[in-house]
């Protein structure tokens, strides 16, 4: 439990709640003249979230922060995998499924642990080709397979 995170989250959710209440005012009024329009539910939720966030912020001042004796977090590994996943998402449509999946898996395998290139290449290759052919050819699903040039 981290006090900083809780405070940050409290403020973030408070803002989300406020945003919901304010933005709900802009939802068009119901057309069929019912007493309850589409804005009541979100306004109510926004209000409850604001109250709960305030409660959480109040709680963060009451408890003692425990000192984190946690282990070192491996940011570098995570960032490499996360960024390559972002690229994977961005390039999936233009470059096709097989190439991007193969590249992503290879990078991720090697990030997790260096070495054993041949095994990594085989697993990444079998997975990307296997999934594509099973899904697109055998099951007849639609998946962008290869670059469209």
């Amino acid at each position: 439990m981290s006090k900083t995170f809780d405070r940050f989250a409290g403020i973030a959710f408070l803002l989300i709640g406020l945003l919901f209440v304010i933005e709900s005012q802009r939802i068009s009024k119901s057309s069929y003249g019912s007493a309850v329009g589409p804005d009541i539910f979100p306004i109510g939720l926004g209000a409850v979230l604001i109250l709960l966030s305030l409660r959480l912020l109040y709680e963060t001042f009451r408890y003692q922060a425990k000192t984190e004796s946690g282990e070192p977090v491996l940011y570098k590994k995570f960032l490499i995998i996360f960024v390559s996943a972002l690229l994977y998402a961005a390039l999936l449509e233009p470059l096709g499924y097989v190439i991007t999946t193969f590249a992503f898996l290879l990078i991720a395998f090697q990030t997790m642990e260096r070495g054993k290139w041949i095994k990594s290449i085989i697993i990444a290759g079998v997975f990307s080709f296997g999934v594509y052919y099973f899904f697109a050819e055998f099951l007849g699903g639609s998946l962008p397979g290869f670059p469209v040039f």
Partner: protein, 508 residues
């Protein structure tokens, strides 16, 4: 037609060759999911929804729904079998519901009785599975008949009760759990409002008009969240694996575990039926109960077979019991059943009292297939337990990237938008951060699934009453449900004020 007739029809569906195959694949993957630490039943089921959706793409809707739900439910109860394997052999629970199994199971393994512990766990799970299914068969009709009398006001209150129950028991801080619930409800309002057809919070972004896809969010929060956690925090699990040895339990073992299995099954079943209290809580209570019942309680923690038999039966029975509110009332009581419900809704099949009338083949086919699936699990788990134990040794470095790739494939194959892939990654990070800081994500997913239904029922009720909110308290059934919901939230708070420790349901 009576219940028996329906059940027989269900079996005729469950015995279709593709459904036998689906049940088999489901329980097989479920066992693997249960064995692998780090992938729980929730992420296992979420990851497989897109795969089943494509596998069943050629079938007519109802048959497709029946086949997929047969597979997905198989993953759910299969995981309950598999979870015990690592608890016993490695002292590392594969699921939170198998945590208490480590207490005696690992001790038994150390004494060279791992085989007995594993087979008793499998036999107990089987007996519990069958008992809870019989309960399901008997209770399904009467409960859905009661629920048919419900109007929108009662439904609204019933769903609030479901949310309150899950939030009240999830995680360490109720404030945080409630915040997650409300946040999930809010996410559910994005998109075109089903009642008035007005776009809400879409800001003219086309992908938002259909709302945020529940599947993307569930896979992101659970599966990717867990993957990111494992990438970021190296876990050490270099425990030596115990030898399995003789698999069949001795006559003495069987005699000692018969009563705990029965007690665990009934206890687990009733705990499973209650919303919010899931398999984890059931196994925990069963362990405490067995310790009280035992003639020599000092044996517990030193390898008492009752300490394996009871909790393992209870967690499996609870997973069967949890299907009751889902199928008969349309209200999921836990994170995993919420995901199962989302899967049914994807096929345009609304779980609830009408399910048994409108789509008997789905409901009864599922129930019948669970009998078949449990039998398969017993057969799978007894002789093949050594094979499954090997899965534990799958290297993390290959497993984690492949889970990411499967999530990408799954989400893209169902949604066909890059937006959902970004949303998936964002939810993964969010899931990791929230879970790490004790914000439970299960209530969020549950709220996301229930949100639109809660809102619709609320507005229908208010339209009937001309905008008077008093309809929720003047209607007696609705009032009672609301009072129970309030009690569910207030009692743990009061107990906490009194300084009592409150049992928490970490599983969700």
């Amino acid at each position: 037609m009576n219940t028996l007739q329906f059940l027989m029809d269900g079996f005729s569906i469950a015995f279709q060759w593709q459904n036998i195959l689906f049940a088999f694949v489901g329980v097989l993957i479920g066992t693997a999911v249960g064995v692998l630490p780090g992938i729980g039943p929730m992420s296992g089921v979420a990851l497989l929804i897109p795969v089943t959706a494509t596998l069943t793409a050629g079938l007519p809707t109802e048959a497709a729904a029946a086949s997929s739900i047969i597979l997905l439910a198989g993953v759910y109860y299969g995981a309950m079998y598999g979870g015990s394997t690592t608890s016993i052999l490695l002292n590392t629970p594969g699921e939170s519901s198998s945590v208490v199994t480590t207490l005696d199971g690992y001790q038994m393994a150390k004494q060279g009785r791992a085989g007995s512990a594993l087979s008793i766990a499998a036999i107990g799970s089987f007996a519990a599975g069958i008992i809870s299914l019989i309960g399901l068969v008997l209770l399904a009709e009467p409960l859905s008949n009661v629920a048919l009398q419900f109007g929108p006001a009662e439904y609204f209150s019933l769903m609030l009760l479901g949310l309150a129950a899950v939030s009240g028991l999830a995680g360490k801080s109720m404030t945080k759990a409630l915040m997650m619930t409300v946040f999930g409800l809010m996410l559910g309002t994005i998109g075109i409002d089903a009642v008035s057809g007005i776009a809400r919070f879409t800001y003219d972004i086309p992908v938002l008009y259909s709302g945020l896809e529940f599947l993307t969010i569930a896979v992101g929060l659970f599966a990717l969240g867990e993957v990111f956690k494992t990438v970021l925090e190296r876990d050490h699990e270099d425990g030596t694996m115990a030898k399995i040895g003789r698999i069949l339990p001795t006559r003495q073992d069987l005699k000692e575990s018969a009563a705990p299995i029965l007690r665990g099954s009934f206890l687990g079943f009733f705990i499973g039926v209650l919303p919010g209290a899931g398999a984890t809580l059931a196994s925990f209570f069963s362990y405490i109960g067995e310790k009280k019942f035992s003639k020599n309680p000092e044996q517990f923690g030193k390898g008492a077979i009752a300490g394996v038999a009871g909790p393992e039966s209870a967690n499996n029975a609870a997973s069967g019991g949890a299907m009751i509110p889902l199928l008969t009332l349309g209200i999921p009581g836990s994170g995993t059943t919420a995901i199962l419900m989302g899967a049914l809704i994807m096929y345009n099949i609304q779980p609830g009292p009408l399910l048994f009338d409108d789509h008997p083949e789905v409901a009864w086919g599922l129930i019948a297939s669970m009998f078949v699936g449990n039998l398969m699990l017993l057969i799978l788990n007894m002789p093949l337990v050594k094979v499954f134990a090997k899965i534990i040794q799958t290297p993390k470095k290959y497993l984690l990237p492949i889970i990411i790739a499967i999530s990408f494939f799954g989400v893209y194959a169902v949604q066909y938008t890059t937006f959902d892939l970004y949303l998936l990654l964002a939810c993964g990070v969010l899931g990791y951060l929230l879970t790490k800081n004790d914000f439970p994500v299960a209530p969020l997913v549950l709220a996301l699934v229930l949100g639109p239904m809660i809102e619709n029922n609320m507005r229908r009720a208010l339209t009937i009453s001309n905008g008077e909110f008093s309809i929720f308290v003047t209607n007696p059934i609705s009032l009672v449900l609301l009072l129970i919901a309030a009690a569910w939230l207030l009692i743990p708070l009061l107990l906490k004020l009194k300084g009592r420790s409150v049992v928490l349901n970490e599983e969700g």
